[in-house]
Symmetry: C3
Subunit: 117 residues, 3 copies
């Protein structure tokens, strides 16, 4: 099979791993955790877009996504509004969204994607 390429690797995780036609991204959270869910979602999607484009993919090549929200009752609609408007027409990945507390208390949303290269 193809070899494994890792990018932005530290002792805990790689931000990006490329293997066999797929680009795996780590779960991403917002740079500024004081923002509301829409601001955090925008921050995450901007980072996803940069990682994809830096490594031979793009947001119209997303295969699948998981979205974890700290408070799904409160923030599902707000996250969706930003998500829906960010996706290119006709290129939505499969998706699952659930509630999960995240690694630090102010984080409201974490998004994990896999894309094609």
């Amino acid at each position: 099979m193809s070899s494994i390429e890792r990018f932005e690797t530290n002792k805990r995780m790689s931000r990006v791993v490329k293997y066999n036609g797929c680009l795996y991204l780590s779960g991403l959270t917002a740079d500024n955790p004081d923002e509301d869910v829409q601001g955090q979602t925008r921050s995450i999607l901007g980072k996803i877009e940069k990682f994809l484009e830096a490594h031979g993919s793009s947001k119209d090549k997303l295969l699948t996504a998981q979205i974890w929200l700290k408070d799904i009752d409160r923030d599902f609609a707000g996250m969706n509004e930003v998500w829906d408007s960010w996706l290119p027409e006709g290129a939505a990945p499969t998706r699952a969204t659930g509630e999960s507390k995240l690694a630090s208390p102010k984080l409201l949303v974490e998004i994990i994607v896999t894309a094609a290269v």
Copy 2:
């Protein structure tokens, strides 16, 4: 690599994405959220089976599954009973099951699978 095929795509997600020998399905929930966990699990597994068969796979080609339960202490056993009897002999995927509140309060279970084509 192979091209990406998307099915039942709206602005938020595709129900099914086919790429590179894998069929990714969105997290699926029950059509009737008034059912108990067994009814909801049956509904979901029926939908999974239809999606798989419509796109070149089948339930004996499942690779991996995640199962999210709203109340894992109460509903783990009930979900398992339906799940275990649905799977073909000798063809079980890898699986992980955790607790997560879901996108609407009455939803008790969501299942995400990836299958081979």
Copy 3:
């Protein structure tokens, strides 16, 4: 495409599934649920290592991981300490960590990995 190989399969899940250059592992939990999060993490990582090596992979070929903690505020740091020291230099997978109650009350951590073969 390649065929699907399943290992340690029962009616509910396979511990390992090999397909198309990827090795999928079921979510793994500790053998002794009376241990603290560090003991449970060590137990899980030992099992992951054995499964990977038994089926043509190894811990320097990890692609992606999800880590589910029962109590992320209390146990994130302890889990990370064991995780960080277990990973080989320069070979970290992508990772996402969230909070989720698990299949039995004493389980503090579950880890799901996919590796290359």
